[in-house]
Amino acid sequence: MPDTLTAPASLATTAPTPSADLPQWFAERATTAWTTFDSLPIPGIKDEHWRYSNAKRLDPAAFHRATPAPESAEAEAVASSIGLSDTAARLIFVNDQLVQSDTHALPEGVICETLTDALIKHPEVVQQHFMQREAALGSAKFAALHLAHVQAGIVVIVPKNVVVENPIEVFHWVATENAAIFPHTLIVAGDNASVTVVDHYRTLGEIPAFSCAVADFVAQPGGRITYAHCQELGNAATALHLSSTSAHRDSQIKSFQVQLGAAFSRSESISDLLGQGSRSDMISISLPTASQVVDQRTLQHHAAPHTGSDLLYKNALYDTSRTIFAGLITVDEGAHFTDAYQTCRNLINSEEAEANSMPGLEINADQVKCSHGSTSSPVSDEELFYLKARGINDHDSRKLIVQGFLEDTLSRLDHEPLRHLIEQRIESKLASIA
């Protein structure tokens, strides 16, 4: 039988073969990861990290590893990759293949390579930082799957004292039905260096597909990283985003996630505050409609004194959509004078929508300021009446209220063009809501 008629082998059964060009340590980790993946069960519904959710939605048997897309699909994806107008670098991946790259505006000394190129050209520094954080929030199996398959995505290493003014923007497209991609993002900001990176995840058309992404951020003393991920996969797709931040002394890491697409999207975000004076902001926006499920797990881990973390997750739910938020703040012994805040707010636009929140705190130090809170409330009738009494119709009044609800997340983005881009993406989703 000709190859083209053979169904592609599923992720669950095919062990990937790491390329011979890659460093041996990487090949070994990938091989070990496959064994780990293969040996771990899909988490059951009784697993604490999967409460109210269902890991079967990520069943690897339903997907195959993406193979290069036809040229026409690549061209369409490139043409649709409209984002920021001023970037330091811009890379477009389709089905995990790099199809366009422009890095000429990067300041000297900044490394911005595809993962594969970085592994070959800068193996030591990649080895030092590549997937060092255990996926502790439930997706160890899928993190292993990612490691076993990963080849796409970028490594950004900004040397000491270098400030990259404009963002680095990356598009990840899935162009084939039932295909899985494994986008990787590794950002290392050296001492007092600063960089902004944006990842877009999209599908070409409304196809079932799986994006299994891992993003790790390391800020060395005084370093600053701003990261945004904009998940706009088609509504039949599945999204997983595992991220970790390591914040060293006096560093600042801001992470924004914008969840707009996918039938099921799961994010696990870990912030490790490792050095005194470090700070992590974790911000998330989602607008689930129809039967979309947004599943969010977070950990703010304070390992050093005088550290700060501030989490603000906002979900505006429509139709029969569901959100799950489970967040934990842990303050280690000795991590005195910690400021840690965790807030999840849900604005319910439909009686059939459901928001689940599970906030948590574990404090083992003194002189700590911690708070956590979660609220769910419907759109206020009195607010609606006030807006309508000024002539604004029901649809536009509700839209204004939702935009207002999201305002204090967006106002934390101090990069104006990036904020504008995210507002536009939100606006485009809001425009689709009847």
Binding site: S380, D381, E382, E383, F385, Y386, L387, K388, A389, R390, G391, I392, N393, D394, D396, S397, L400, I401, Q403, G404, F405, L406, E407, D408
Partner: protein, 251 residues
């Protein structure tokens, strides 16, 4: 061409609040409705603007010939009816300027947008008249505003939306005398031959600064007495019990 309220009867569950109210407001006229607590003053404003807590069981309201009782809240507003709220709501995260732009845009044909430069010019002119700091354009609608600031903001909206008929529901409540003067100046600036006003108030004080053409007394959901602006002074002096005796005497 006028706002005509005929035999307006309205209730909340289990309780009738308006009992066949009749009132005609012509463009150019300023009417004041006074009445004791519980007489139905605020209900009248809510019913006219279409609040869903109230059910109209009889009567008609026409605005320049158009029956507005069948219209949704927003459509009523777009016919040219404006309500300055007694307790303006806070809309977190929506800036005053965006709110006003959305309200003005709602009055344009589909797909058209307002001229931003002209909008801000007009907005700043009106804010200056109301002695409002420019920072109020960027602040969330009414959020964290003092009572007086909220009322000024209501008048700012009136000035920007230029309605045909404006109802001011207890605009004087919670205002100190200086704020009251500023608000009154704003309202007076909007008086014109083509615009009618209905001032709803408990106290005569407001009417020292916004002189009404006609004063009505509302009791038990009906207008029981109508007169000139001296009627307000008489009420202030003699109290609402005097009206009861007066009405009984003429009944």
């Amino acid at each position: 061409m006028s706002l005509v309220i005929e035999n307006l009867t309205a209730q909340i569950p289990d309780r009738q609040i308006l009992n066949g109210l009749n009132l005609t407001i012509n463009p150019g006229e300023v009417h004041a409705i006074m009445g004791p607590n519980g007489s139905g003053k605020s209900t009248l404003s809510k019913v006219l603007s279409g609040h869903s807590d109230y059910e109209v069981t009889a009567g008609t309201v026409t605005l320049d010939g158009q029956n507005i009782l069948d219209l949704e809240v927003d459509a009523r507003a777009r016919t040219g009816l404006f309500l300055a709220f007694q307790y303006p709501h806070e809309i977190p995260g929506v800036s005053n300027a965006n709110f006003l732009r959305a309200a003005l845009k709602a009055r344009l044909p589909e797909g058209e947008d307002i001229d931003a430069v002209a909008f801000y010019k007009q907005l700043y002119t009106r804010m200056d008249q109301l002695e409002m700091d420019r920072s109020f354009t960027g602040r969330s609608v009414n959020e964290g505003f003092s009572g007086g600031e909220k009322k000024r903001n209501e008048i700012l909206q009136l000035m920007m939306l230029e309605p045909k008929y404006a109802i001011l529901d207890e605009t004087d409540s919670g205002l100190d005398i200086d704020a009251l003067k500023v608000v009154a100046r704003g309202v007076n600036a909007m008086r014109s031959e083509s615009r009618g006003f209905l001032l709803i108030t408990h106290y005569q004080r407001l009417l020292d600064y916004i002189q009404p053409d006609i004063v009505h007394v509302l009791m038990d959901g009906q207008i029981v007495l109508t007169g000139g602006k001296d009627l307000a002074l008489k009420l202030e002096e003699k109290g609402y019990d005097w009206v009861k005796d007066e009405v009984l005497a003429t009944a």
